[in-house]
């Protein structure tokens, strides 16, 4: 029986063997108006560096739209288009389908062109979730959705999002003298959600650009595999997390090393822990205590020892009790959850 899904060939992007093999050309350049030490801008730079020149980038509203393309100016070397806050999924699907149709009708040269849509955690994990989910169910088009997650609506001055971790200080959850913890929700498990719920999505990965080579190779793999693919990147944000920008790189490393941000990929249904996370899981390096990460950020400066212990217990739970540690949060025996008062 002939298969109904007809997918165009993709660019064959082999992994970069080492940092020294990374090409020197830039496709997202200087002159954007982001903060000092903006890791999301770094994600943009590495994302298109990994994808190469034959790439179309679509961006939903967020820092990476507002700060990068202000009033008739741009930092993009490759074609870029703005799309609405919740529409990164629809824009990616539309662009990929449009290219496919143009090539089928002979209006464009037949060639594999990467389509990447990026969205922030507000645009992707909150508002655009429906559109992204729908896009991930279409097997016929080659596209990548990259969620750059700085754990708040950073562009509009740090309102909390579905990605903000427990207890963090944001404009919507300022600790007071009577009540200390004003944010009681835990971060949405976006990559897990995409992988578990979308059998047609052929590749899901979590990355952090403090591990640049790993992150870029994940992007190259997603674009090579083809079909709808999804990558979730954690980006330290000096503005919203309140820290000296010199720490941007180190905080990304710490998020992984403390086990808060597990790196993994799911390729055609097969899960593999990657990078430092794999080394922690294999017992090759110890998992650092979360306080090393939390106490370096002003957004957690109101934490007491009880809060730190509670946060640690939730991360321990993720590593020891989850059905698949760090990925699938099902447990056979549910323990009582007792957050500090």
């Amino acid at each position: 029986m002939a298969t109904i899904v007809q997918i165009d060939p993709t660019q064959q992007l082999d992994p970069f063997k080492s940092v020294k093999k990374i090409p020197t050309h830039e496709f997202f350049t200087s002159g954007h108006r982001t903060c000092q030490g903006c890791e999301s801008a770094l994600v943009m730079k590495m994302m298109v560096k990994a994808a190469g020149p034959r790439t179309i980038v679509l961006g939903s509203t967020g820092c990476m739209y507002v700060a990068n393309t202000t009033y008739y100016s741009t930092s993009w070397v490759v074609p870029w288009m703005h799309t609405q806050l919740g529409s990164s999924g629809s824009a990616a699907l539309g662009a990929a389908a449009g290219l496919k149709a143009q090539m089928r009708k002979g209006k464009m040269k037949q060639e594999p062109i990467n389509v990447i849509a990026f969205c922030g955690d507000g645009g992707g994990a909150d508002m655009g979730l429906g559109a992204i989910s729908a896009t991930m169910t279409h097997p016929d088009y080659n596209l990548l959705i990259l969620l750059y997650d700085n754990e708040s609506y950073a562009n509009t001055d740090i309102q909390l999002s579905g990605s903000t971790p427990w207890g963090a200080n944001t404009t919507f959850s300022t600790p007071g003298s009577v009540k200390r913890i004003m944010h009681h929700r835990w971060k949405k498990n976006m990559a897990g959600l995409m992988a578990v719920g979308h059998p047609t999505c052929r590749y899901v990965a979590t990355i952090c650009m403090s591990y640049g080579l790993h992150g870029m190779n994940s992007i190259r793999k997603a674009l090579t595999i083809g079909g709808p693919t999804f990558i979730h990147s954690l980006d330290p944000c000096p503005k919203g997390w309140d820290y000296d920008p010199i720490q941007s790189h180190e905080l990304g490393e710490l998020a992984v090393q403390c086990g808060i941000w597990p790196l993994y990929e799911v390729e055609d249904g097969k899960l593999r822990l990657t990078g430092r996370t794999q080394q922690i899981a294999d017992g090759k390096i110890p998992r650092k205590p979360v306080r090393d990460y939390l106490l370096r950020q002003g957004r957690f400066a109101h934490f007491t020892n009880d809060d730190l212990d509670y946060f640690q217990s939730k991360i321990d739970q993720m590593w020891t009790k989850w059905l698949i540690p760090g990925v699938i949060p099902f447990e056979k025996d549910l323990a009582a959850d007792n957050p500090p008062a």
Binding site: Q36, A67, S75, K239, D244, G298
Partner: protein, 390 residues
């Protein structure tokens, strides 16, 4: 018609947001006590702020309500009696993220008005950093290092009240010292802060800046597209990929200097800049790869030269560099130009290394926001000591 007073506070976005708000708010509250109405506000175009990118707050005060209304009918003041720069590196110029080109720090300061700067530098150095102009103005220095914190944790090192004390000295007709002291006590309920303000009032130093004194460069600027030149739908050309770099000595071509957005340069965003020791560099690529601003040009021999048009001074390059003192962040006040360090080193490596070591030695302790819990408590003691001694 009454008299209108305007004060602008130029500050580093996010790092000094709370500090600037404290200052402009207290000016207006103190003026109220002196019977003058006023309004304090942040410039609309600076929001949302970005770490380090210059932003402004204004305090507008008038002798009567009608004059205030007239003053507030403008989008923002066209001239101010006092310009306050709470980071001395802003004296080199202000490029806000929402408009194009570099604005001299003293551009809005009225002839005979005052520029108040918080700095540890001598007056001559600050005058050299600011652009020259045709009318004289005063420079007042509140001695102290840069006060940086973030959105959530405020470093209460008394910089706010010390600037307020200086304002009462510089312009008593705007606000009296008495009113300022009362306001500070009301706002902070801390008599030590009142004492800090009064010490600053007594110790602020002043210098007259003559016409023509200062940086002679024409500030970087260009034409904005007009509304009638904009087409339907907005499409603009992408940035070209870049060109090879030429060695100034051997004229060998190689490497790459990426083209950059010509309408926004980051040199007014930084408080520190990296200096690079090209002789100890092991070409590990990390500074170049991890720079969020793509500021490193790749030289023909595979070294990485931080381009000072694009560097915003975050310091990530220093953090990732595995070699001791190969990439080092140095205060922006130590530099007078934005030239290529690599070219200087190629032409005269011995001279360059001497220059480099001198820059590294001048490096003050980094104070660029929150690094660990408890840090501000440690630093505030030191800052207060400077305040008491100065």
């Amino acid at each position: 018609m009454g008299k209108l007073y305007a004060v602008e506070i130029v500050y580093r976005g996010i790092f000094q947001k709370k500090l600037a708000t404290n200052i402009s708010r207290a000016i207006v509250l103190a003026a109220h006590l002196d019977g003058k109405p006023g309004i304090s506000f942040g410039r609309y175009g600076d929001s949302p702020e970005r770490n380090g990118i210059p932003a402004k707050n204004f305090a507008i005060v008038a002798t009567d309500e009608q004059t205030l209304q007239e003053g507030m009918a403008k989008y923002e003041p066209k001239e101010v009696d006092i310009t306050i720069s709470v980071d001395d590196t802003l004296c080199k110029g202000v490029e806000s993220w929402a408009w194009y080109g570099l604005q001299p720090i003293n551009k809005l300061t009225k002839p005979g008005g005052t520029l108040i700067v918080t700095s540890m530098e001598p007056a001559e150095k600050l005058i050299e950093m600011a652009h020259n102009r045709e009318t004289p103005y005063n420079l007042a220095i509140v001695k102290g290092s840069r006060s940086f914190s973030g959105l959530w944790v405020y470093k209460d090192d008394h910089t706010d009240v010390r600037v307020l004390g200086a304002i009462a000295k510089v312009m008593p007709e705007l606000v009296s010292l008495d009113a300022m002291k009362k306001t500070i006590l009301q706002e902070w309920k801390d008599p030590v802060k009142v004492a800090s303000a009064e010490k600053s009032y007594n110790r602020v130093t002043k210098a007259l800046v003559q016409p023509g004194q200062g940086n002679p460069e024409t500030p970087y600027q260009f034409e904005l597209p007009k509304w009638h030149e904009m087409g339907e739908g907005v499409a603009i050309p992408c940035i070209p990929v870049g060109k090879t770099v030429e060695d100034p000595v051997t004229h060998v071509l190689g490497g790459i200097r990426p083209d950059r957005n010509p309408t926004f340069k980051k040199f007014s965003t930084r408080t520190m800049r990296p200096v690079v020791n090209f002789e100890t560099c092991i070409k590990c690529t990390l500074c170049w790869l991890q720079c969020p601003d793509t500021c490193f040009d790749v030289t023909p021999e595979g070294l990485y030269d931080a381009n000072m048009e694009a560097c915003c001074g975050c310091g990530v390059c220093e953090a990732v560099c595995p070699v001791d003192k190969c990439v080092t962040m140095v205060a922006e006040t130590e530099f007078a130009d934005n030239g290529s360090q690599w070219e200087t080193w190629r032409k005269d490596s011995t001279g360059y290394l001497q220059w480099l070591n001198q820059k590294i030695e001048s490096r003050p302790e980094r104070s660029h926001g929150f690094r660990f819990k408890g840090q501000y408590q440690e630093q505030v003691g030191e800052m207060l000591q400077i305040a008491q001694e100065s």
